[in-house]
Structures are given as C-alpha cells and as structure tokens.
Amino acid sequence: MLNIKKLHKSYPIGDSSLHVLKGIDLTVEDGEMVAIMGSSGSGKSTLLNIIGMLDEADEGEYILDGVPIKNLTEKKAAIYRNKFLGFIFQSFNLINYKNALDNVALPLYYQGMKRQERQELALFHLGKVGLEPWAHHLPNELSGGQKQRVAIARALAANPKLLLADEPTGALDTKTSHEIMDFIQHLNDEGKTILIVTHEEDIAQMCKRIVRLKDGLIMEDEKVEQVRASQYVG
C-alpha cells in the first residue's frame, strides 16, 4: 500500500534550516492500522503531510499503491489526493457555511460526480456515522463529536485507499474520543488502511501497530495487541 525509503525533509528557518525528517523508512500493508507517535517536534505531522501529499519530501522515495509520488504538479496532486486519500483533522476542518451533507459531498463534487448522485452517496455515508438526521445542519449546530463524525464521513465519501488522521481525538473529551476511535476501528475492520498521528498512548494502543518517532527518526516500530474502544463505549 505504502512504501517510504530514506525520506528527508528540512524547513528553512532564517539562514539555517531545520532538519525535521532524517531518513524515514516505512512500509504499510493493506488493511493495517498504524499509530505514528512522538513528542511535538519529532516530525510526525511532517511525515503525515508528506504521506498526504500536502507537502513534498526533499529526498527519498514514496510509493503509494504502486504509484511513485514525486514532482507532482498541483493539478496531479489534487487528483491523487482526491482518489487515494481521506483526511481527518484535529480541528475537523469542515466548511462552516456548508451543511453536513454538502460538506460530505464536497470531495465527490471534485470528482465530477452529478449532484443527485453525490447527494445520495453523501447521505449514505452520513448514515454510516449515524448523522442522517443532522444532514441539513451547519457545523456550528453540531457537537465536537458530531463534527468529527461528519469529517469522517467526508473522508470516506470518495472511497479512498488510505485514511490519514491527524490527532483525530485531540479536540474531544475522553468519552467522545472513544466513540470516534470505535468508528475508526470499525472502518479498519472493514478493510480500510488507516494512519493515525497521535501523542496519546491510549489512542495509540487502539491501533494494531505503533511507530515511534524521535528527532526525525523511527525509534521503534512494533505490532501491538489492539485495545477495542467499544468496551469503553456505553
């Protein structure tokens, strides 16, 4: 699914530059659920951005589903993002003047799908996260957990190969966090490949594999016994 070799990335800071990723090697197979952990500044978000084609590596190889990701034009990156990737962000990043349904339908709009079709599909995905009755509500009328569920439905709408979540529970309380993780685990059970960036140990333990980053290098890469979130959900 995902193959990364000797990935380097630096950011210029004034005259000098900050070497954030110092040669990352990472392989993720289909159906895996991987947590990328590390303290702030460890390079975990940068890695996720590069995997998400929101940023480009300086050096190294990145192959996603057999397609080498290199020297992308903006247009090509847009197409790949739309086709391969679904994003879940800490701050949800819903468009605040669009209702839940329109937010979920947006990636489908960029796929060129007809309005009728994408509305139906968006409604189906909203139903999957249990928010069908909220389809016509604006984001500011929803709770944090509901917003994140809308965001998950949006990430799933385009049927991406890889789901990228950047601190998906960072803005949520413990109970809601567990609900969201329960969702994500179910998605993984259905076969979706998922990458989660987090700094919370208990969230990481809910994945099947934990990759620990420190100072731009992988310190540890271990498979773990998955803790099911459903046991906390009452």
Binding site: E74, A78, R81, K83, Q90, N93, I95, L106, Y109, R115
Partner: protein
C-alpha cells in the same frame, strides 16, 4: 469552467457570507455611483456650453455702428455713423465669395394687439438669410422670403411665445395682427433654442419696416456668416479686412473702437472649443480615476476575502480541488459581485441624476445624464475590472499550500 455545480458553489458562498458580499458589493456600487454622478454632472456642464453657443451660428460676424471717438479726415469726433442699404449691398458685392449668409437688421419696439390681448414686443426687420444666422426653426408656415423684401409686403413671422401670449390656445398662422395700429398678416410661427426671450420676437421684411417706420433706408446692424471652409486664422483675417474697409468707407480713424464694431464669433468659439476640450479631459480623468479607485477597491477586498477563506481553500485542496477550480471559484465570485453591485450603483446614480437633474439647471448644469452606450461600456469595464482585480488574489489563493492553510492556530 461554467458548469452548474460551480455556480451553485458560488451562490452558496455569496448567500452564506452575506455581510462579506454586501460589504465588497457596497464599495463597488459606491464607486460606480460616484462615477455616474460625476460623469453626469460633467455632461450637464457640457450640455450647458453646447446650448449657450448653439443659438447663433458660430461662424457669425456682427457689424454695428456707433459714434466716432476720434476726429479724422476733417470730421469731428462724436459723429454718428449710420449704415444704409447701400452698405449692405457693398459688403455683399465686395466679399461675396467669403460670405455664406448675410442680413441687415433694424430694431423696433411695437405694441401688438390681437383681439383683446395686447403686449409689447421687439421687432427685428431682416433679410431672409437671417433665419440661418439665428438658427430660427419654423414651427408653422414660412419665414420671410425674397418676394416679401421686393414687394415690401406687410407680413410677419412671430415667435412661439408671442403666439401663446396673444392667440392663447388658437393658431396664429394666417391671421392678422395689429402692430402700432397697422395690420400685418402672420405667415409663420417659429421656435428658437436660445431661450424664452428669443421666442418673444417678431420678424418682418426689412424693406417693409424701412418704408413704414421712417421711410428711409437705414440699417442698425449687419450680420453675416463667413464661408465655413475658412479656418480660424483666415476668418480672423477676413473680419480684420472687413473692419478696415468699412472704416475707410466711413472715414473713421483706424484706431476708433466705437464707430464701427465688428464682432467675430470665431474668437469666442475658439475659447468655447478650448473650454469644451478642457471639460472633456476632466470628464475622462474623473472617469478613469473613479474606475481605477474602484478596481483598487475590488482588489483589496479580494485580497481580504482570499485571506479570510485561506482555511476553506486549504480544505478544498485537501479534498482534491485543482488550482483551476479554486481560481474559477474566487474569480467568478468577484466578477459576479462586481457586476451586480456595479449595476446597482449605476441604476442608483442614474436615478439620482434623474431626480436632482432639473434642480441643477440654476448651476449651469443642464440635463445631466449618462448615455446608454456609456452605461453598457461601464458595465463591461466593471466586469473586466472585477476579473482583473480578482485574478491576482485568486491566483494567489490557488497557490496556497494546504498544510499552511490547515495549520491549527
């Protein structure tokens, strides 16, 4: 680029961000409102000028006589110079090639009576050419003709307001009017754009007036227009020659400014033309100035809007929006807002002109308005301006990096 989905996105964005849309629209509408009003007022000033000088043909030369101020050739100062028919004939003979129209004029004041209505009017006794010199427009009947001159017929052509005053609501044509006790047949009624006073005048053949009121061949004034093919310098030379010639003819000192006065409108029309040109330049400067201010305004708003929407654009890009689709989104929204707001500003401006226009006539602003062509041109300019103003910010928006836009702060 113009699919329905995109328009739906744009309308949703405008509709859901009404304050933002209204504010940016207001700036544009205000700029265009100012543009329309200033342009209209400048046009009004222009109209006033055009009208003030359209009454008389602007290649006119007026020749009047007075008393001498200097002794010359044995004559004492203070001698009255009197033009006669033979002077008129002399100019006609001598300068025939350079003269387009020529007429003598005799001024009288008469008491005019028709039935119970009575009033006093100035009479101008003239030659037929006078019609073209004064830009008199015949409303009913005809003007004085050559036959009237030869036969000294007792006919008159009266102004529209004379007809209104004396004949109330009936027509005057063909009826007889009493002037100082003598009956004259009305053969014509005229209009004149030179104002009310020019329409409270009675014209009669010069020969008739000379016989009836003095039985002489005196003339008060000779008016002529020079050949319009003459340029400014030639026209001035012509009137200078004419002046010198007439002064010699009446033994007037060449430095005497009062005995024979020749006024050449070429002098004045040159000033007027310069003024009109100056006004035109001002109009263009105002127009461009306001439009540029408008474009800068739209540009600023677009930059602000792009900044405000940075996060949204980042989200859209993360979800697979191409740079082109981002440009279309921002640009078309800008154009749409500009076009609609500009159009509204234009309508309000035209409404204001329509509303205050009549009350501005006291300030030398007549009929301030903007033409349909200008309206269309301004609307198109606006749409183009909205496009130009929106393009750079839109381009910038399309280059926003999603990670920068989505960074949590």
């Amino acid at each position: 680029m113009l699919d329905r989905g995109l328009w739906r996105e744009i309308f949703q964005s405008i509709n859901m961000n009404r304050t933002r849309s209204l504010l940016s629209g207001f700036t544009v509408a205000f700029a265009i409102l100012l543009f329309t009003i200033l342009f209209g007022i400048a046009n009004g000033l222009n109209n006033t000028f055009a009208e003030a000088f359209s009454d008389d043909a602007n290649n006119s030369i007026f020749i009047q006589s007075g008393t001498t101020t200097k002794a010359n050739k044995g004559f004492q100062a203070g001698r009255q110079i009197q033009f006669k028919n033979k002077d008129f004939d002399y100019i006609k003979e001598e300068y025939g090639d350079n003269v387009q129209y020529i007429t003598s004029r005799l001024h009288l004041n008469v008491d005019a009576i028709f039935r119970n209505e009575k009033s006093t009017y100035p009479v101008r006794a003239v030659h037929p050419d006078h019609q073209f010199l004064e830009n008199t427009i015949i409303k009913d009947g005809r003007y004085i003709n050559q036959l009237d001159i030869e036969n000294k017929t007792k006919v008159v052509v009266i102004g529209r307001l004379v007809e209104q005053d004396l004949f109330l609501k009936t027509t005057a044509l063909g009826k007889y009017i009493s002037l100082n006790g003598l009956q004259y047949k009305i053969v014509g009624v005229f209009r004149d754009d030179g104002g009310d006073n020019e329409e409270r005048i009675i014209y009669m053949p010069i020969s008739t007036a000379q016989r009836v009121y003095g039985n002489n061949d005196y003339i008060d004034q000779i008016n002529l227009t020079y050949n319009p093919e003459m340029n400014y310098n030639k026209a001035i030379a012509f009137s200078n020659n004419l002046t010198k010639d007439l002064k010699d003819r009446f033994d007037v000192a060449s430095s005497d400014q009062r005995a024979i006065r020749v006024r050449n409108l070429a002098n004045e029309s040159k000033t007027v033309n310069q003024m009109t040109f100056g006004l035109g330049v001002i109009i263009i400067v105002i127009g461009f100035g306001t439009l540029i201010a408008g474009i800068v305004g739209v540009s600023n708003i677009m930059i602000f809007i792009v900044k405000e929407r940075t996060k949204e654009i980042g989200i859209r890009k993360a979800l697979g929006a191409s740079p082109k689709s981002i440009i279309s989104l921002i640009l078309l929204e800008a154009i749409l807002i500009t076009a609609i707001a500009g159009w509204i500003g234009l309508l309000i401006g035209m409404g204001v002109l329509e509303f205050i226009g009549p009350s501005l006539e006291d300030y030398f602003i007549k009929d301030p308005s903007v033409s349909t062509t200008l309206v269309i041109a301004a609307t198109l300019t606006l749409i183009v301006a909205g496009g130009i103003a929106g393009y750079l910010p839109a381009k910038k928006a399309s280059q926003i990096k999603p990670i920068v836009a989505l960074r949590d702060d």
